[in-house]
Structure formats: C-alpha cells, structure tokens
C-alpha cells in the first residue's frame, strides 16, 4: 500500500530515494578487492549481522508496514527482534501476520511498558548483531537501508559510532510531506572536513550497492567528529550503531524502566564516544500522525514540546545520561582521556551560556555528590577540586565533597580546598585592582 504511494510521489518529482528494485537477495555477497569474501577466506570471514530492534507500544495500525519494510531489505543477513512494550491495542495480533514464517524474526512481549530506552537496552541483551538499528513502529525503512548504512560504515575514511541517514516525512494517508528531516544537520554534511567514502575499488563492497549508488553515497556522506556538538541526526529509525559503542553507553538495571526515547540517550552519547557519519539521502520514511511522542517518551503523551513540563522532563532525561558517565568515571576517563570533562558538559545538552545555571540546580548537585568519590579516586585531590569548582560555586562545591566523599574529608583535602579558594580569591582581587588601575 505504501510502496504504491511512494512510487507516485517520486513521479511527482520528489527527492529520489535509493533505488532498489530487487527485493530479497538470498545471501549477502561481500567483495574485497573484487573477490567474494567467501572465496577469499574459505568461510573464515563472514558478512556482518545486523540487528533490527523493533519496539512497539500501541502502534498496531502501523507496525505491519514497519515489519514488511524490514523483511524487504536487500541485505539478508539480519535478525529482527520485535519487542512489544506492553501494548493494549491488539498489536500482538498483527506481528505474526506480517512476520509469517521468516526465521530471522522473533517476537517478545513485555508485560508492561518499560519505556523505549528500557526496551532498547533489554533487547540489546537478546540480540547479537554487531550493527544495530532501533526501528520505531510507525516508521518505514527503504529496501536499501541496511546495505547502504553498512557500505558507509565500511567505506568511511574513519570508523564512527553511528551512521544517520535522512528521511522522507509522510502523513497518515501515506502522502509524502517533506523530503527531509528538519533537524538532520545538512550544515554539518556541508562543512565537514572528512567528506565522502574511500575509493570504491579498494574497500569492502556490498553487492547490493552498485557503482552508481556507491558514488551517490560518497557524494552525500560526511563524518562529524566527536568534538562537534548539537543535534545532528534524523530521528530513531534512521540510525545504525556499532554494538560495541552501544554497550559502552548502556545502563544496568534498565528492567525497572527507562521512560525516555532511545535516540535521546544513545545518539548524543555514542556520538561523543566515536563520532557520527551523516548520509544526506532519505533511506527511511518518518510518519507524522499527530501523535508522535518523540523526544517525550510514551509515558507522558500529554506533554508537548516547548512547554515547561517538556523541558523539565528532557533535562531530567539528559541528566541521567550525564550520571551514567560519572557512574563509570574510571572507564570513561580512560576511554575519553582529556575529552572526559568537555563530554560531561556536552551531554547536559545545555548551551554553554546556560551551563552555570544548570550546575546551580540542586538536582545536578545531588548527581555529582553521588559520584564524587569515583571522580576523586580518578583525578586526585587537586584536579577534582579544580574541575568541580569550574562548574559549581564554592558553597555547593564544598557540600558535594562533604556529603559525597566516602570516608569524609581528610585534613589535607580540607586544607587544599580552602587554600585553592584563598588563591582564587587573591588572584581575583589582584585582577580587580589591576582593572581599576587601568
């Protein structure tokens, strides 16, 4: 039904999607230096397995289209786990009808909604592909989605944590609304220093990607380094992650529920770890139906973007991501090296002009107090005092240490903290006097 609509819209001169006439190729053929991977390695090397994780909560009327679009992928080496997140709308009847007897699919029903992020992490533990796409139940992937994303992952001049492609937005009736997602960062594609793919004849090639499509991908792809901030990506379904990075970015104890979107957590954090590649070609379709709970999560459907309640919810969500970083200080400070503290600031998702205000909030101070012992162990007295004072005023900073440090504050720490304070005060005075003189 949707395919017909889209074909019409294409004739109307709307943006081209990746052509893929031949739906369902039997086995994925990979070529290395023009030789099939199998012949090259006698079976020792294998094509990558993609895990599609399709999370559905009460989108029974859409989820069939999503399943069909996954079955129609021209890259066949995938598994798909359908997670029913406690639906009550009869969604469960729909799954089997569309999956039929496709052995690549499995269906798991959760008794209640544990949030999109909760379900995403739950499903990660039950799948094994090294490349992962979380599919929203109301979206549709184009047949070349997996092969194009994989081709980009393998042909980029440098590896990244995730690839993100553009979308076509369409309305309830299947009519195409726009040719691209508003927040997908075209600017970053244009400005990136690392554009395009490596030479087609010396990279791993996926057979579904013809010369022409490879060239097209190369023209429209750019790497965005982890040092770049902001929201760069298309929503949910348009991203393909490396599992190793998702693992680093996952919470423990998610079974209690994480009532937030998966992309709201994973995209900024995975990007901060390994960078992104943006593909400015629509590889999936994003359905607008007046009930998109994106960036809010299914639990608070009454909350609308732009309202105070929405902002408070979003800030709390992102604070949880910051807390994950602090909770694993030892691991992340090693992985990120001197990018650790800038990454903490970045993941607040607050503009740098607002950071002072953010760190003055009691909720933020509580989070830091909870993990200050780990930070202290990692960075030592002097550095941890500097980093905390850079962010918090002296009163809150002192309370974070006093309330948070296990074993209390030692005399030498006490002395260093207040000596540093005295030095700060004196140097401030000095510069003030100097200004007055000038």
């Amino acid at each position: 039904m949707f395919g017909g609509e889209l074909a019409n819209s294409r004739r109307d001169g709307l943006p081209d999607t990746l052509p893929s006439q031949n739906v369902l190729v039997t086995s994925p053929v990979l070529l290395v230096d023009s030789v099939a991977l199998d012949a090259l390695s006698g079976g020792a090397l294998k094509p990558p397995l993609v895990s599609f994780i399709l999370i559905n909560w009460n989108y029974g009327r859409f989820v069939g289209d999503a399943i069909d679009s996954i079955r129609a992928q021209d890259y066949s080496n995938f598994e798909c786990l359908i997670v029913d997140n406690g639906s009550t709308d009869g969604s469960r009847e729909v799954y089997a009808r569309h999956v039929q007897d496709d052995p690549r699919f499995s269906i798991e029903c959760l008794p209640e909604n544990i949030g999109q992020l909760g379900a995403a992490i739950w499903a990660l533990g039950r799948t094994s592909g090294n490349f992962v796409t979380f599919v929203d139940a109301d979206d549709i992937l184009f047949p070349g989605f997996a092969s194009a994303h994989l081709q980009v992952h393998f042909a980029l001049p440098r590896s990244v944590a995730l690839t993100s492609s553009n979308v076509i937005e369409f309305g309830e009736a299947g009519r195409v609304a726009t040719g691209g997602y508003l927040y997908f960062s075209r600017i970053n594609v244009g400005q990136s220093k690392i554009r395009g793919l490596r030479s087609a004849d010396t990279t791993v090639r996926f057979s579904a990607i013809t010369e022409e499509v490879f060239e097209k991908l190369s023209r429209t792809t750019a790497v965005v380094d982890q040092s770049e901030g902001g929201w760069l990506w298309s929503p949910g379904s348009s991203n393909m992650f490396r599992r190793s990075i998702l693992k680093l970015a996952s919470f423990d104890g998610h079974e209690q529920g994480l009532m937030r979107t998966a992309d709201g957590h994973f995209n900024p954090l995975c990007h901060a770890l390994g960078g992104s590649a943006l593909i400015d070609l629509p590889l999936s379709a994003y359905r607008q139906h007046g009930q998109n709970y994106y960036s809010v999560g299914e639990t608070v459907p009454g909350v609308r973007q732009g309202t105070a309640a929405y902002l408070a919810k979003a800030e709390g969500d992102y604070r949880q991501t910051v807390e994950l970083l602090l909770d694993r200080t030892e691991s992340f400070s090693w992985l990120l090296s001197d990018r650790f503290w800038p990454t903490v600031d970045r993941l607040t998702r607050v503009p740098s002009s607002e950071l002072k205000k953010y760190y003055s909030k009691p909720a933020t101070q509580q989070v830091f107090a909870r993990h200050i012992s780990k930070l202290h162990r990692q960075f030592g007295d002097a550095a941890v005092i500097d980093h905390i004072r850079e962010r918090f005023r002296v009163g809150p900073a002192w309370r974070i240490f006093k309330n948070g440090l296990t074993g209390g504050i030692s005399f030498s720490f006490w002395r260093l903290f207040w000596a540093t304070e005295l030095n700060r005060f004196l140097s401030r005075q000095k510069s003030r006097r100097k200004r007055r003189r000038d």
Binding site: V32, N130, I194, R242, S244, L273, W334
Partner: protein, 385 residues
C-alpha cells in the same frame, strides 16, 4: 613459475630477467593458545599465490592442544617448519629466538588468530620491489573482524595517519621491476593506492601485526638486546616506528588481511575508532615502556647507527618519544631512559664525542636533570673502576 616480467622498457626487462629470482618471503606464525584459529591462519598462508615463500610456525607452549592443530594443518607441506617450544617466550621473545632461521629477504609475522588474503605476499613483494631505494617495511590495510570472523571495520583506525595525509600513488617514480602473476589491473591499482611514510614522520600510521612485511636486514639491524629468552613485548610496537625512522615505510591501502578482535573488557572499545582508546591502561603502560628499548638498542649499537645515520642519529632515537605522543623531555627524563643513558654513557661518548653527546642531551633534558645525570655517570664510572 614466477619471475620478473616484461616491463614497459624491453631492454631493461631482459636485464631484470637475468638477475634471477624474485624476493622470497618468510612467514612467521607465532601461536599461543589459539587452537581455534591457527588452522585457518596456516591455511591462508598455504593459499598464497606467490610461490617464493617459506613459513615457520612457532608454538609458545600452548596449553589448549594447539600443537596438534598445527601439525595437522601443516601436514607434510615442505614449505613449512614447526617449532614447538616448551616455554612461552612471548611474541618478541619468539621472534628473536628464530630470527636467524628465517631465510627470506622479507619477513611477515602473522598473528595466529589473523588471516591473510591470497594476494598478500605478491602485493607486498611487488611494493617492496617497486620503491626505488626500498623501504624498511610495507603495511597493508587490514579489516577488523570479530572473534567469530564477522567483519567489523574496513580498516584499522590509525592506518593512514590523519586521514591519509601522505601522497597517494607511486606510479610516477616506481621502478620497472615487476612480478609475473600480478594482473595488469591489480598492478595499476596497487601502485595507485600505495603511499610512502617519510622517515621524519612522528606518529602511528600502520596497521597492527599481521599486515606488516619487514625487510629481514632491517629486523636484524634494529634487533633489540634482551638478556632473557622471555621477552614480553609486541613486535610492531617496537619495530614499526623504529624501522620507519631508519628507512621509511610504505602503506598499501588495499585490504590484504583480517585482524581478529576478541571480546574486550569495559576499559577498551573493540573496533578501533579515532579518539577512543582501544588498549587497556596496563597495556598502554607496557607498550610505552617496551618502546624505550629503541633507545637501548641505539646506545648499544651506537657505533653502527652513528655510521649509518650520521646527523640523523638523534632524530631516530627520538622516535621512541614521538610514537607515544611524549615530549622529548618526558621521554628522556624518565627513570627508564636515564638508566639506559647512565649504563651506556661511556660507549655513546666514545662514538659521538663527549661534547656532541652533552649538547644533544642538554637539548633533551632540563638543566637539573642533566646535572643529576652527570653525577650518576660519575659515580657509575667510579663503581666500575
């Protein structure tokens, strides 16, 4: 039959034909507890479409039954020889133990869980031949694969340095020496996608392990001194930056091997990604320590290296700092390097002249450390007298 083939200039190709056989490659497979993979590693060497090779398989006293797998996979193949050690000498230890037995002009050290493609030897040998004046080693693009062989990346993150900063293509100055058995199209592609890493380069631009083919004479020249047969060190960590500083290297941006990654702990991401550390803290510390053996080697062999390198002597020595992103001070003021300098000061001073040596050291350490070094040297000389 492999031979030097017709080059664009018929007159010269006749001459090349008379020179005789193409370079031979010695493969060295060092195995420790990789029974699950070493069989396919050996098979991948057997399938090379380059006949001029031999292969030594060393087992580092595995406890997982590797020995049997090795015997079976090698079969009666006369190109292979097997050495079963009763003690684990570790990677560098095993190389130094058998280096004298490797007869090829070129040496490829293959990890026993890796996999090389059939064109590997031919391509590397061709690039070694093509570069006028030669290079210390060639390094090709390696695909990273998961433990089960699933492809993970199209290349090791550091390969090529900062986004392939080196000029691509050597067709313009390549020699005419050309191996038969390499198709026109592949030959062209190979030269087009090869890059030279100059001796002055101060970073890490190479693939890991099995993707590197060294000249044997460079391995011998730069051979580390080590008292004990057990030597816990990674071969490339020491040899790659050292060999490049001595005699440059070439990058072949064509995938010719697969590098297997194993489930890692939380402190390391598995597939390599720029800006994200892959080694563990302990591993990084060890590699930094062992890389300082470059300084030890150059001090002991100062009489040879000074003659070969002339003005470049110190530049090559400084490699051990740059490869770890250290400043010269951090490197030369470290206790390890100070110890090496004290130990070999007399020899160094004899070769380089005491004034030149002092000047070089003053450039590399602070005034205070320099004075401390002088005191230690004085007391060391007293002791030995």
């Amino acid at each position: 039959m492999i031979d030097f083939a017709i080059s664009p200039d018929p007159g010269r190709s006749v001459l090349l034909n008379k020179l005789g056989s193409p370079p031979s490659i010695s493969f060295l497979i060092i195995n420790w507890n990789h029974a699950a993979f070493v069989g396919s590693t050996i098979d991948s060497v057997k399938k090379q479409n380059y006949p001029a090779f031999n292969c030594v398989v060393v087992d580092n006293a595995s406890k997982d039954g590797s020995q049997k797998v090795i015997e079976q996979s090698v079969g009666g193949d006369p190109r292979f020889s097997v050495l079963l050690l009763d003690k684990n000498l570790n990677q560098m230890g095993a190389l130094l133990h058998v280096l004298h037995r490797l007869k090829g002009e070129l040496v490829a050290i293959i990890d026993s869980d890796d996999f090389i493609f059939p064109e590997y030897a031919l391509s590397h040998a061709q690039v070694h031949l093509s570069i006028p004046g030669g290079v210390g080693f060639t390094s090709s693009c390696a695909l990273e694969v998961a433990t089960d062989g699933q492809l993970l990346t199209g290349k090791f993150a550091a390969f090529g340095g900062q986004q392939f900063q080196f000029a691509r293509g050597i067709s313009e100055f390549a020699s005419d020496a050309r191996l038969a058995g390499i198709a026109e199209e592949k030959y062209r592609r190979l030269l087009q996608n090869t890059m030279i890493v100059p001796v002055e380069y101060k970073g890490w631009a190479w693939s890991a392990g099995s993707a590197n083919v060294y000249r044997r004479d460079v391995l011998e020249l730069a051979r580390p001194y080590w008292e004990s047969p057990v030597y816990v060190a990674a071969i490339d960590n020491y040899y790659a930056p050292f060999a490049n500083a001595l005699s440059s290297s070439a990058l072949i941006d064509v995938p010719l091997s697969a590098y297997r990654l194993h489930e890692s702990n939380r402190f390391a991401s598995s597939a390599s990604i720029a800006g994200l550390r892959t080694a563990t803290r302990a591993g990084k510390d060890r590699s930094r320590t062992r890389r300082k053996d470059i300084i030890d080697t150059m001090c002991r062999g100062a009489h040879v290296f000074a003659r070969l390198l002339g003005q470049r002597f110190w530049e090559v020595m400084d490699t051990s700092a740059y490869a770890d992103g250290q400043t010269l001070r951090e490197c030369y003021e470290s206790e390890q390097v100070q110890g090496i300098l004290v130990k070999h000061y007399r020899h160094l001073s004899g070769v380089l002249g005491s004034n030149a040596l002092e000047a070089a050291l003053r450039d590399r350490v602070s005034q205070r450390v320099f004075r401390m070094l002088q005191e230690r040297i004085a007391s060391n000389i007293e002791l030995s007298n």
